[in-house]
Amino acid sequence: MTNALPLWEVFVRAKNGLAHKHVGSVHAADPRMALEAARDVYTRRMEGVSLWVLPSASIIASDPGESPSLFDPAEDKIYRHPTFYIVPDNIKHI
């Protein structure tokens, strides 16, 4: 299968005001074809008002093996959350 169609990731904006959300992928030869395929596959029931497609190969994903070193440091920084601070109940609007 030397002539396999490249893979594209598809993002749909459900309605204005919301960010595009990843919904899946399609195979297509070029951007136009990818958009049309995405339209046919993912928005047949008015799921969206806008589409993004981009070559799957251009996505740089983090390595699950690196997750601890990437995300664990946030775990013990509870002072980044408002609930860390004790403000008496009678103080309003804070």
Binding site: K15, N16, G17, S50, H81, I91
Partner: protein
């Protein structure tokens, strides 16, 4: 406030004739509280006003790191230092969210940075005041972030999608800023006599500049009506300022601190606090760039940008070399 218009807007009412149709659709959408997204048609003046407002907001977040950075190495405990560092880190993130929202309107971040450094772009007047004591860290979190929250909460429903979404993220993060500030003020206000005096002194110096953050009075904000119609401003300057006074006065009373305004008193009929006259001459002077530490702030920004240029250059040179090797 971060989003108060601080520079002249001369281009607001011009719509080319062939755009009347599209403009009508746009106006109807906005009036109906719908969101405008980057690829939707929008009038040039809306785009320009948004670029000005969002970039000014972004610059405020970035310059706003400086007064607090001033105390990082002198925080009184490791706990306070970690908290202050986390807050400053958040403000940097806020700047970046906002720059990227502005970039969807067709301006580059470098262009915005250049405009700031050349003095063509403004940022909130509040950051041109010096942070003289540790209590200023508490007062800023409590008052400055408190004022910012009041302004930013309604902007979560602003008409421009990327701006609204940035504001949602920012508002989620702001709450800790205000609470750590108030908590810090509480500790000082209940501390030694010297600490209490330091807290009162900080309130004295930050109260009026905080009120000025909401911008000139409504009758001197000629473009507010247009911005409100476009839903890129959702409440008037004076309405937000009044709200700020009304929620903050009881908070100060709970601390046992005195708001530095002899004319401040509860008005039974208005169900709100009356407050004294604001020194608008001072505000306009600070907008003109005559704030106490305005020159210092801008110099610090330019210095950070220029003295770190080699890092950006090195990263690009490294990548260029790498891809050249890959191609060979």
């Amino acid at each position: 406030m971060y989003t108060v218009s601080l520079s002249p807007e001369t281009d607001l009412h011009i719509v080319a004739a062939d755009d009347t149709q599209r403009n009508a659709v746009f106006e109807a959408k906005v009036a109906d509280d719908q969101f405008i997204e980057p690829k939707d048609w929008m009038p040039d003046a809306y785009r320009k006003t948004l670029i000005r407002q969002i970039s000014q907001h972004a610059h405020s977040e970035i310059v706003g790191m400086l007064p607090e950075g001033n105390w990082l190495t002198r925080a009184p405990s490791l706990r306070r230092k970690a908290i202050l560092l986390a807050k400053i880190q958040d403000e940097c993130g806020h700047g970046l969210y906002l720059y990227s929202a502005a970039e969807t309107l067709g301006i580059s971040r470098d262009d915005m940075t250049e405009a700031l450094h050349q003095g063509r772009a403004k940022y909130s007047t509040i950051f041109n005041y010096p942070t003289l004591t540790w209590a200023d860290m508490g007062a800023i979190g409590w008052l400055v972030d408190g004022a910012a929250i009041l302004n930013q909460v309604p902007l979560q429903r602003t008409s421009y999608g990327p701006y609204a979404r940035a504001m949602v993220r920012i508002c989620k993060e702001e709450s800790f800023h205000q609470r750590q500030g108030y908590e810090s003020m509480m500790v000082l206000a209940q501390g030694t006599e010297g600490q209490r005096r330091m807290a009162q002194d900080a309130l004295n110096r930050w109260w009026w500049p905080s009120l000025m953050m909401f911008g000139p009075p409504d009758d001197q904000s000629p473009n507010s009506a247009q911005s409100m119609r476009w839903r890129i401003k959702r409440d008037s300057n004076d309405a937000l300022r009044q709200k700020f006074v009304d929620v903050t006065v009881p908070q100060a009373q709970a601390l046992g601190l005195t708001i530095p305004d002899p004319d401040l008193k509860w008005n039974e009929t208005r169900n709100a606090y009356d407050y004294g006259a604001i020194d608008w001459a001072e505000f306009h002077a600070v907008v003109r760039g005559e704030g106490p530490v305005a020159k210092e702030r801008l110099a610090a920004r330019i210095d950070a940008w220029e003295s770190n240029a080699w890092v950006r250059d090195a990263a690009l040179a490294h990548e260029a070399k790498r891809s050249q090797r890959k191609a060979a």
